[in-house]
Each structure stands twice: as structure tokens, then as C-alpha cells.
Symmetry: C2
């Protein structure tokens, strides 16, 4: 059961955007244990798309296409797939209703005419409702070949794939493939590999695949077995061994983000946290607020970008600012302390750094960031020298801040 | 002169990494005005790679391959291309010297045996010295077809391409290609197309290509001419016409983000802004802080997630909260007003909304967001009903908040 991925969009051929959809789908196929031998990118051009679809259907059993389902004239994926596989196009009443529904409470007064194009579907296709946009997903099946057509915007693609396509693909596998993620933070990819090299090299079933993320490493443990229970049994000792080797660097063995793991810990120990951010400008708080129901542990946060704001809101000492500068261990410490005293939170995480591109000096290069955590009347400060552009430096700072908070809770409360 | 890109690597097919190389090369080709119709990803597999290379050479004049040039047995790109194009493999003495040189001052004591494989090149190929690694780049030319083989690691690929391949490709193009971006906010992709449909349909040179982003539409205007100055002249009237049709919805005709355009306006009119965020939890402030040098116009911001924080920090009235609820026009208004009075900023943008997934009521569904802007002793409040998941709702809120700020400045100050 071979899969092939075709990404449709001139913006990919022009290099306007990175093809993260192909990576997403490739990762999902790996998770499902379905072999993927080719990925193709092709533009919104009838002849070339038709050629790519025909070639794909020749080589693979399941063709997954993303993009080109929108309302504009450029969008021709549906039409071309129907042509390649011999389907007629008809209007789908249900999809038409959904489009009306979508626009009813929306920000537009009228539904632009070209939107109705999205209610036209290949006759007999399975229509996948899209709750985050107007273009439905489609599954076309004929002569033992399947084409899955999905919208290009990731916020539409991901939920549609996970809820409506993944379970369908899962059934195509004779064996059950089950995988579990072990999420690691605080050590780099090569360090993780060093510590697990014998396990990775010797793997057959389960397999271990590392994925490097900003400041994190995710390890996917995948087992094939006759059912999920058996697969879980195969995975269990591997996860246990990884946890033993990597210790507290493993922040989760569930499907949860770093901020979720942190919020769970705060909840567990009944702690509230506040944030005091300079260079990250709200990114740390925004990560915490990603977690639904965070209000129990996070109530307020501060962005103190100027020195004046650091003084006024966080009571950072004028003399400290003058003597050490805003990007210093001392100021980070006072920011974290000030955050706790300005609120009724138990804990405060503070970030001050130089995200660049300007403002560097010989002693303080771009990428220098101090992260402080006030907990139980004690402040821990960590110094980092990050690489990359302004945004990359800020993203890494936030991951390290979340991880410092996590490690501080474990050290102070978990016994 | 058609180009095609083939990315070789099983790690791409497994979704371990995102194919940023393909984007890089696509953008370079667009810059060079060289048409790129297909990108292919294929693994380190002899038969499938051979098939991809043959197909590529059939469709295109220039084939650019990345990856698979390393020292391991998996690396077969060079061998397969030589086979497809009929080249013998011979050792290149110069490359052998470079490999010796590379290892001399390196971290390894001995040169691993498999490295000599990298000194083997197709006979008659142009060898491109790689100063950041041991695998040289190669250019194979035969029967009017060209294959450019480049290493996969970006730090080796980029300099090699820029210094040794780009100038060569530039010579293949008779015309200069130049493009300009027109960035639009506040109206949807289909509305933009409705208003520009005759221009888009009638396009030849320049061409107009729309790209949908969260809450934004970007229009790329591309012209081909004998030089950049002439291309700019062709683009100028098109940009003017688009601005005439879309009015203030055009926020920039430069290469700048929405937050950059907003910061530029704040700077222009000497205004400072503060932020008061509930559901977005710092995302609005973080967007502003994306802009280097924002400290002139943004000094501090608040995340008031709980009602108590709204009262304490922003002086939101207890009775208002009780009567209308935290997600209301009235509270948004008081948050924006309170933000200005809690700081010395001229302007405050406030966001309060229901990002879900929990907490919805009949009158207040998930996605309901109020955005307020205090400016010149007046508060404007806008009500939105967004679609999508928690993150999407928050992202859209931030775009609308930035746009409200932008439009408020234009209305109040630009005359």
C-alpha cells in the first residue's frame, strides 16, 4: 500500500513558502507505517498537474494532494483529479449549506460568487467537511486507486487529515501500527543520539526516529503488531529505557506540548505563575495561553520592553540597570522577583536578552539572553548564547524559559 | 530554459526534516526568472532516483539535485546521474587534495576510508569546490541538458550555489525578472480577486499572483524586461491601479510585514502604543516586538487573563465585568482606556475574546472577540466572530488588532 504526496501551488514553485505540508504528511505516513517513495510539487497548471496526477496514480495506491481547492480560477486540483480518474462534477447540497453557514456569522456581508465553486464535487466522492474553511476535502476511489484531496492552509489541512483521513488510512494497513512520542527538552539532538545510539542502530520493532524541533527533540517509537495493545507492550520497555537514560530531559511521553506539560505541573502542585518579558515581548505568555484552561495557573503577565517599564512595573532598581545594563543576570533576577511581588503569583519567569540585529557590544553579542525563575524565595538565573535571527533567538528563549520553569518545579516540589 | 529541482534523501520522505532547500532553490530560480515546473523528493534508492533523474532530464533543460553526495553507501546521487547521462567515473586529484586539506585541521585524527569516494567524479564534469564540507558540487553537461549536483546541508549548499551556480544560471536568461509585493489586510482573498479579476485575467507582463495568509492577502506583481529599471516601470502603473481599487486595505507596497507597517506609522506620527490582552495572551505584543527598534513606539504591555488582573492593572470596573462579562464591548472599551491610563502611551489596543474550546454560551460562542483601540480620547470597538481552533482564533484576533490600529492612525492622523 504505497502512498505518494503531491503539493499543488505556484507559490511553492516560486519559493514563497516552505512545503511544511509535505513534511507533515510524510511524518503521518511514517507514523502509519505506509511507504512514501515520491513527493512532487507542481503548480496550478492544468497539463502539468494532470501529468503529475497520472504518474502518481501509476506509481502509488494512495495519492494525497494538498492545495488548489480554493475559490479562485487558479484552483484546479479537484477538476484535474476528476479528469484523470474519470469523474463527473456535480454540486453537493450539503457543502453549499456549509459554505452559507461559514459566511453567515462571518465578517463578510456577502458571499463572493466564486465561493460556490467549492460546492462542486466529483460525483460519488466522499466529501470531508472542513470546519476551518470553505473548501471541503475529497476522497476519490476508482479501480483500486485512491486520491485524497485536501486544502492547502495548514489550519484546515491538519484537523481534516487527523479527524477524517488518518483513521481511513489506518485501516489500509494489515498490521496495526502504533507509535508513541517521547518528548525531550534541554539537550541537543546529537547528545540524544549519542545516548541512544545502540538503541537506534539496533532497532527493528519498535523503531526509534528522532525529530529535531526548536529547542526540543521528539523521539517517535513505532511498533507494528496485531493490535494496539500488543504494540503498546512492545513500546513500553523502550520508553522506560529512554527515560532511564535521558532522565528529567524527558518532559512528556504523551501527546502534549512543552507548555501543556508545564501547565500540568503547575496545576499538580497548585502553583500560579506570572511572566516578565523583555526581548520575547509576550511570546512566553502566549505559549502558556496556548493551553486551554490555563486561567487556573496563569492570570496576568507583563511585557516590560523599556527600562522605564522594568522599573515602574517590576521595581527593577535604577542602579542595577545602570551598573549591569538591561541584559544582565542581575536585571533578570530583579525582574523575576518584581513579577512575584507585583502580583499574587507563586512563581515568576523573566526573560531579558539581545535579540538583535542591532544593539550588540563586544561583551554583549546578539543572542545573549538571561532567563530567571523566582520560586520559593529563591531566584535561579541561566545565561544563554543563542544563534540565529531575531525570531529564532526569541523562540529559543521561550523554550528555555518554559524548561527552566519545568525543571524548577521538579526540583522544588517533586519528591 | 526550464529548471527542475530534485531533493534526494530518505529523511525528507520520512518527514524528519522540512525541505527548505527546495524553497531556497525555487526562490533563486524565481529571482533569475527561470521557470521551475516541478520539484521532486525521492529517497536514496537507485531505481527510483534513476527514474526521477530521467524524467527530470526529459522535462527540463537544467536539473538541480541536492543531497546524496556524502561519503556513505546510501549516497548515490552522483553515481545515478552519471549512469542516466552516460558518464564514466574517475578520481579527481584536486578534490582528493581538498579532502586531505579539509581533514588536516579538523577534529578527526584519520580520514575515514569512505571519504575518498567523494573524490570520484563523472569524467568531464565541472567540479565545484566545497569549502564547507568534503563533497564537491558537480555540473554534468551533455546533449543540451545540464545536471547540477549540490550537497544537501544548507551551510554547504547556499555558498556553493550563490558563488558558483547562480552566475552560471544568470547567463542562461536573456531578460531580467523583477517582482514587487502589494500587501493587503482587512479583506479576504476572494474579495480581492473579485475587485482585480479583470487585471488578473488580462495579465501577461507584469503578472499578478495572490497569496492568502492568515487575515492577509499578498499580491506579487512580476515583470520581465531588459533590466530592473524597465521592469519597475512596467510594475508601477499596476501597483497604482491596485491601490486605487483596494484603497486603505493595501498596507504596504514594500517588503514589510503588517507589524512593520504599523510600527512605521506609529513612528511617523510620533505615537507610542501599549497593549492589553486577554485571550491572545501576549501574541499582539510579540508581533510588535518582531520589529527591530520597536522600543521607540512600544515600551510595555499587559496580559490580563483573569478578571482580577483586568480590574487591578487596567482599572476595569467590577460592575462592568459583572453586568456584561469579560468578553464584551464594554470590557474591551475599558481595557483600552485603562491601558492608556496605566502607562504614558498615546494609544492602547485591547483584545478580549473566547478562544475556546471551552467556555462558550448561547450568546457568546467560541470565536467571539472584541478588539478596542483607544486613540485621541476616543475608543473604537470592533466585534468579530472568528472560525477555527484556539490558535487560529487568536492569530486572526492579532491581525485584526494590528489592522484596527493601522486604520485608526490613518483616520486620525493622515490628512
Amino acid at each position: 500500500m504505497v502512498v505518494e504526496v503531491i503539493s499543488v501551488g505556484t507559490e511553492l514553485l516560486l519559493g514563497n513558502i516552505v512545503n511544511t505540508n509535505a513534511q507533515y504528511l510524510a511524518e503521518k505516513c511514517a507514523q502509519l507505517g505506509l511507504p512514501l517513495y515520491y513527493q512532487t510539487v507542481v503548480g496550478d497548471n492544468h497539463d502539468r498537474l494532470l501529468d503529475a496526477v497520472k504518474t502518481g496514480l501509476n506509481r502509488a495506491d494512495v495519492l494525497i494532494l494538498t492545495g488548489g481547492l480554493g475559490p479562485t480560477e487558479d484552483d484546479i486540483t479537484k477538476e484535474v483529479c476528476a479528469e484523470a480518474m474519470g469523474f463527473l462534477l456535480v454540486e453537493d447540497a450539503h457543502t453549499r449549506e456549509l459554505i452559507e453557514e461559514y459566511f453567515k456569522n462571518g465578517i463578510y456581508k456577502e458571499i463572493p460568487d466564486n465561493n460556490w465553486k467549492q460546492a462542486i464535487v466529483p460525483e460519488g466522492a466522499t466529501v470531508l467537511d472542513n470546519h476551518n474553511g470553505t473548501a471541503p476535502g475529497l476522497i476519490l476511489e476508482k479501480d483500486g486507486k485512491t486520491a485524497v484531496l485536501l486544502p492547502g492552509p495548514p489550519n484546515e489541512l491538519y484537523p481534516l487529515f487527523e479527524e477524517q483521513v488518518y483513521p481511513k488510512l489506518q485501516k489500509l494497513r494489515p498490521e496495526t501500527i502504533f507509535s508513541q512520542m517521547v518528548r525531550v527538552c534541554g539537550i541537543g539532538e546529537s547528545q540524544v543520539e549519542d545516548k541512544l545510539i545502540d538503541m537506534i542502530d539496533g532497532q527493528t520493532n519498535p523503531t526509534i526516529a528522532p525529530y529535531a524541533k526548536t529547542g526540543e527533540v521528539h523521539l517517535r517509537i513505532t511498533a507494528a503488531a496485531k493490535d494496539e495493545a500488543e504494540a503498546r507492550e512492545l513500546i513500553k520497555p523502550v520508553v522506560k529505557e529512554i527515560k532511564k537514560r535521558l532522565g528529567n530531559a524527558v518532559y512528556s511521553v504523551k501527546d502534549e506540548t512543552l507548555e501543556m506539560a508545564v501547565v500540568r505541573l503547575l496545576e499538580k502542585y497548585g502553583l500560579t505563575v506570572t511572566t516578565a518579558e523583555s526581548c520575547t515581548g509576550g511570546m512566553l505568555a502566549a505559549r502558556l495561553v496556548n493551553v486551554p484552561g490555563v486561567s487556573e495557573v496563569f492570570r496576568e503577565g507583563f511585557i516590560t520592553y523599556s527600562n522605564k517599564a522594568k522599573k515602574k512595573i517590576l521595581d527593577v532598581n535604577k542602579a542595577t540597570l545602570r551598573k549591569y545594563g538591561a541584559v544582565s543576570k542581575e536585571v533578570a533576577k530583579e525582574m523575576a522577583t518584581g513579577g512575584v511581588f507585583a502580583t499574587d503569583a507563586d512563581v515568576c519567569v523573566a526573560i531579558t536578552g539581545l535579540a538583535g540585529p542591532d544593539g550588540a557590544t563586544e561583551e554583549k553579542p546578539v543572542g545573549l539572553v538571561y532567563i530567571a525563575c523566582y520560586m520559593k524565595d529563591k531566584v535561579t538565573v541561566e545565561k544563554y548564547q543563542f544563534k540565529g535571527n531575531r525570531n529564532k533567538i526569541r523562540e529559543q528563549s521561550v523554550v528555555k524559559a518554559l524548561d527552566l520553569l519545568r525543571r524548577s518545579i521538579l526540583e522544588n516540589y517533586s519528591k
